[in-house]
């Protein structure tokens, strides 16, 4: 290119860039991997969907930056007995259509999501609730089927929808034109492309920080990063750790959040060579967690000893982990007579391929023969959750219940009878069952420590590292990522 042309081009670019910045003052653009599936908050519960609709709706309860459950729509709550709890509801909240939010709407929301007729995929999160009743316009009574300590943690995820509006327009139309009480109202939903939200000026917590928020669907990581760098996006989610170093620049920065999500390895304790506990222990000794974190995560993660991370209730430092000891691992494999035994490593493109391959090599080095079976996510789940015989020998997973409680992790993963568990230990089952049914925090903590000790012995799964969520952001965007990976626009602002 001729120098003159280059000059004109760069001038034009500079002009375009400056107008772009002027515009972003009003609009915040966020790149997500996918578009929302449903905007009806009682239907789909996947990250891309709730990231958007939780800005349209308020939740009954929420968490503060320290992870503690605090009031949102409910101001206070009291346990009448082990299965009954009453919530006081705020009186100053209005929905975006101008109507007032009352106890009627709260009870309706709870009863709607547990109604089988809605066919809500989220039903299982709330199925411990028997019913919700209106006591007076600001009081709701919720009854659970049995004592259920995780109830409050689950209600953090419950969005409150307007009863009158939903009943008027019907379920299908409500999904397309949702109305909530949150800081933003839906302006324009281009399905599969982007969702545009507009500030709701009468929001009860104060004026929302941006006039407009646009969530765009950008499936490709490199494209998301390019968008950030070219100023097309102000915030991007799901930056892979080994791309983190490319994010920092004059106009962009990297935001990290130490999450409650754990990277773990599942080991099949009911079939194949891994049925032998020595083989499972050998695999535990064979994996260099620190090495994985340093090399593949480039330090964005923290090795852990249990299947759980610091932000969760029940996390313990008291349980010892397996140190990296390939020699001991090789001896255990030999002792079990499993040298050269084939272990199938199930995975799908949803999981980090490099990590899976690195673990494969580490385990191969101690005398096993690991073969990777990578299929699409639907097939992976069918096998992983199906019969133990067909569920592979090992698999990588990254688990978060967004409830910051050990119950949400090790109960579904290892309690016998759960779809994920390929493991049965009556002592373990008793411990986690008991911890699920009592409300005393000190006692629960102790039970989980014991449960983690059992898991250490039996290794039906192996905690690898605490996941750090990585975001790329425009330099002047102010926001602190949270442990449960929620993205509330209310918490963000432009720096001045």
């Amino acid at each position: 290119m001729k120098p003159g042309l280059a000059f004109i081009a760069s001038l034009a670019l500079a002009l375009m860039a400056s107008t772009a910045i002027a515009q972003t003052k009003e609009t915040l653009t966020i790149d997500l991997p996918n578009d929302v599936a449903t905007l009806d908050p009682h239907l789909q519960w996947n990250t891309d969907s709730y990231t958007v609709y939780r800005n349209i709706f308020d939740n009954l309860l929420t968490r503060d930056s320290g992870g503690k459950i605090v009031p949102q729509i409910a101001t206070e709550w009291t346990y009448e007995n082990d299965t009954t709890i009453t919530f006081k509801i705020r009186a100053d909240v209005t929905f975006q259509d101008g109507s007032k939010l009352t106890a009627e709407d709260v009870a309706f929301s709870i009863n709607r999501i547990i109604d089988p007729a809605l066919k809500s995929p989220q039903l299982s999160q709330f199925d411990q609730i028997a019913t919700a009743e209106v006591v007076d316009p600001t009081t709701v009574k919720v009854t659970t089927k049995s004592p259920y300590p995780a109830l409050l943690a689950q209600l953090v995820k419950l969005s409150i929808v307007p009863k009158a509006y939903v009943e008027k327009v019907g379920d299908q139309d409500f999904n397309l034109h949702p109305v909530g009480s949150g800081p933003y109202k839906m302006a324009d939903w281009k399905k599969g492309i982007q969702t545009e939200l507009e500030a709701y000026d009468n929001y009860w917590r104060g004026e929302p920080p941006f006039e407009k928020v646009v969530f765009r669907a950008v499936p490709d990581v490199s494209t998301r990063i390019a968008d950030l760098k070219t100023g097309k996006a102000d915030l991007i989610r799901d930056v892979p750790p080994d791309q983190a170093s490319t994010i920092e620049s004059d106009s962009t920065k990297l935001l990290t959040g130490e999450t409650e999500r754990v990277g773990y390895l599942y080991l099949n304790a009911e079939a194949g060579p891994t049925k032998d506990v020595r083989v499972r222990q050998a695999i535990a000794y064979a994996i260099d967690k620190q090495g994985l974190v340093d090399a593949l995560l480039e330090g964005y993660g923290k090795p852990i000893n249990v299947v759980g991370a610091e932000p969760i209730f029940g996390y313990t430092e008291a349980v010892e982990g397996y140190p990296y000891d390939p020699q001991k691992a090789a001896e255990l494999v030999k002792a079990a007579g499993a040298e050269g035994a084939t272990v199938e490593f199930l995975t799908s493109p949803s999981y980090p391929r490099a990590l899976v391959e690195a673990i494969q090599q580490m385990v191969n080095e101690v005398g096993l023969n690991v073969t990777i079976s990578s299929s699409d996510q639907a097939t992976f789940l069918k096998r992983r959750q199906g019969d133990a015989e067909n569920a592979g020998g090992m698999a990588f997973g990254a688990w978060s219940c967004a409830c910051q409680d050990a119950d949400g992790i090790i109960f579904p993963l290892f309690r016998s009878g759960s779809i994920w568990a390929k493991y049965k230990n009556e002592k373990y089952d008793a411990l986690v069952d008991q911890a699920r049914a009592i409300l005393d925090e000190g006692k629960r903590k102790e039970l989980y420590t014991q449960a983690y000790e059992v898991l250490r012995e039996d290794v039906p799964g192996l905690g690898l590292y605490q996941v750090y969520a990585l975001y790329g952001a425009a330099k002047n965007l102010q926001w602190t990522p949270s442990a449960n990976e929620a993205m509330f626009v209310m918490d963000m602002s432009w720096q001045h």
């Binding site: 599936a37 009806d40 994920w420």
Partner: protein, 306 residues
């Protein structure tokens, strides 16, 4: 002629019905979406319950008849993932694919046909060799490779063009080029062959003998006659472009039906996949019927007995 048209249309209907059935069976063999829909801590009973509510526990032939019954009332069913009629979802994405295919077709025709004309009329020259090499190159670069190259050069390094999305018209440039490259080669070859065929005919020789220049002959007569096979190719290329859009749309995050198809297959959103496949095969079948008819109209000697 009428007989032939009717016969072709019946064949087309049979083909579309077959496509529908084959895709239905393959999709159902691949499992159902229930596991992808439930939260990770769902119990086996909850999964079974949702599967029942969604109707995936019924025998496949019952689901098939149910689906066909819906189709007779022009009901293409609901997306289980988005809870919106499948037809609406596809309809909202279709304009983007049409836009992209049109852009690609412009690239393909705009570069391909002039190249073909030049190659045919300047045979043996250095220009022909160079163009021939370019045509083969266009045919040999995987679409995703050219996509990556374009993004890297014009999007990331030079920052001239947006790297993804469909928010502005400029965003169309790179995907159109990447998608059009392959068709460009087809057009160049086909127009070259068609023109060479025409050039060998008596009327051209006669014209040249009467003292018309080659350029005049080509522009007055040859191009018109040679355009017929090229038009039919254009019709068939539309089907190919729709298929090529699958990868290009994924790389460029272009929100058309190609990207939707891949996402819907992966999320086992059966009815959305059905609508897309139905649509693409409809376009394909329709254009090939039209192409056949054009042939018959233009050249009555051709009698297709297929």
């Amino acid at each position: 002629m009428l007989n032939y048209t009717v016969q072709r249309l019946i064949q087309a209907l049979v083909a579309i019905f077959g496509v529908l059935t084959i895709v239905f069976v393959i999709m159902h063999l691949s499992g159902d979406p229930t596991l992808l829909l439930v939260p990770q801590d769902a119990s086996a009973e909850m999964i079974a319950e949702l599967r029942h509510q969604l109707g995936f526990d019924r025998p496949i032939w019952v689901q098939y008849i149910d689906y066909l019954h819906g189709l007779t009332q022009l009901d293409f069913g609901m997306s289980v993932v988005q809870r919106v009629p499948a037809l609406d979802i596809v309809a909202s994405r279709l304009p983007y694919t049409i836009q992209l295919a049109a852009g690609a077709l412009m690239v393909a025709i705009g570069i391909g046909i002039p190249s073909g004309i030049i190659m045919a009329t300047m045979r043996g020259s250095a220009i022909e060799r160079i163009l021939a090499a370019i045509v083969v190159t266009g045919q040999s670069v995987p679409t995703f490779l050219s996509a990556i190259l374009l993004i890297f050069i014009f999007g990331v390094t030079l920052r001239w063009l947006p790297t993804s999305g469909a928010s502005e018209l400029r965003a169309m440039i790179m995907p159109s080029i990447a998608l059009g490259a392959l068709s460009m080669s087809t057009f160049a070859r086909m127009s070259r062959i068609a023109i060479i065929d025409e050039l060998g005919k008596d009327y051209v020789r006669a014209g040249l003998a009467r003292g018309l220049s080659l350029g005049q002959t080509v522009f007055r007569h040859v191009l018109r006659n040679a355009s017929i096979p090229v038009i039919t190719i254009a019709a068939l290329e539309i089907g190919n472009l729709l298929a090529g859009a699958v990868i290009i749309e994924t790389v460029f995050a272009w929100p058309g039906i190609g990207q939707l198809a891949i996402q819907s297959i992966q999320s086992r959103d059966f009815l959305v996949v059905q609508v897309i496949v139905l649509l693409i095969s409809f376009v394909y079948v329709l254009t090939s019927v039209l192409a056949d008819l054009v042939y018959v109209v233009v050249d009555p000697r051709i009698r297709l007995v297929r």
